[in-house]
Symmetry: C2
DNA sequence: GTCTATAATCAGATAGAC
DNA sequence: GTCTATCTGATTATAGAC
């Protein structure tokens, strides 16, 4: 049944994401994922041809949404740093759990070749925020602002969301200004 | 020979640290470490009773230096945020590679029970920086400032170190102020 | 202190029945 | 679409010789 396949795939993704975020990609075995779903390892292999493919699938939404946000900002010629920072905060916050899973096993990402993409985001954000001819000091400021904002987005959960978002974006904005 | 033992232990630590930082704790096998040193797996077990013990040993310097820095700041009643931020930047920068190894396998750290300690640092830093009765917005500002500063310390390498340090500390300081 | 040899376990992956 | 059964290879760890 086609319905069932969609559900099972989605369930696998959800369970895998949760386990990856909790204990990292390498440490999470297919047996563990299968057991939690009440299916067998072999059934997993029907839906995903390899463990790497499962990770790719889990991480995909983040990997398309961040560039999409950057595309939009670049196309609009967005020059208000506050708007850019808000946009970035929102993408990361929306994919918090995936982002945590990525953080908790950077080694696995390196093997998947997504690290170059992530560094590419940084470059594009830097250009948007302080222009193409950034000094080492400019770059340091961007690192503090963007890195800090990322942390705040990932850790979100306690406290009124809107207030936290405003305070974090504001702080990152001030970090940027000389 | 006692001399030899010390050297071998130190060499094991160094190679393990490098591999952990490159590819994470789980992905790095004892075979790999032993091969790179030209010794056998069994020899590793002579020096470290388990893989976890090796990780603990590698991470230990960071785990003692950060609390030491916080102790000093608390004992001195340090109230200048800039000084505290400088101190934190310096500890992290000094242990950059260990810190990267920790970041690249957060799952392993969770199993070692060091995560509570790390969150403890955050709390102490927060109290030092914005006092004991922080609002959600205050906490968000601290997250941006400290998280961003951490990133800058870890990524240090390109550019004149003193200039980067000053710019990063300055940015974190501004992120903190309302 | 370092070795050889091996135990015990678990990993990811595949073949083929139902 | 899920199963049973199995393969292959790697892993951590141990025992005991030198």
């Amino acid at each position: 049944m086609a319905r069932r396949q969609i559900d099972t795939r989605a369930e696998i993704r959800a369970v895998a994401l949760q386990l990856f975020a909790e204990q990292g990609f390498e440490k999470t075995s297919l047996r563990e994922i299968a057991e939690r779903l009440g299916i067998t390892k072999a059934a997993l292999y029907y839906h995903f041809p390899s463990k790497s493919d499962l990770l790719s699938d889990v991480v995909a939404p983040l990997l398309t949404d961040v560039p999409a946000m950057l595309d939009a900002a670049e196309r609009a010629g967005e020059s208000d740093p506050r708007r850019i920072l808000e946009g970035y905060f929102d993408v990361i916050a929306r994919h918090r759990v995936v982002f945590m899973a990525m953080l908790s096993d950077i080694g696995a990402l390196a093997r998947l070749d997504v690290l170059p993409a992530v560094f590419g985001w940084r470059d594009r954000l830097q250009t948007l925020l302080v222009g193409p001819d950034a000094s080492a000091a400019d770059a340091a400021r961007v690192t503090v602002a963007v890195g800090g904002l990322q942390d705040a987005a990932v850790m979100m959960g306690g406290g009124p969301a809107a207030e936290v978002r405003a305070a974090a974006v504001d702080a990152a904005y001030r970090a940027l200004r000389t």
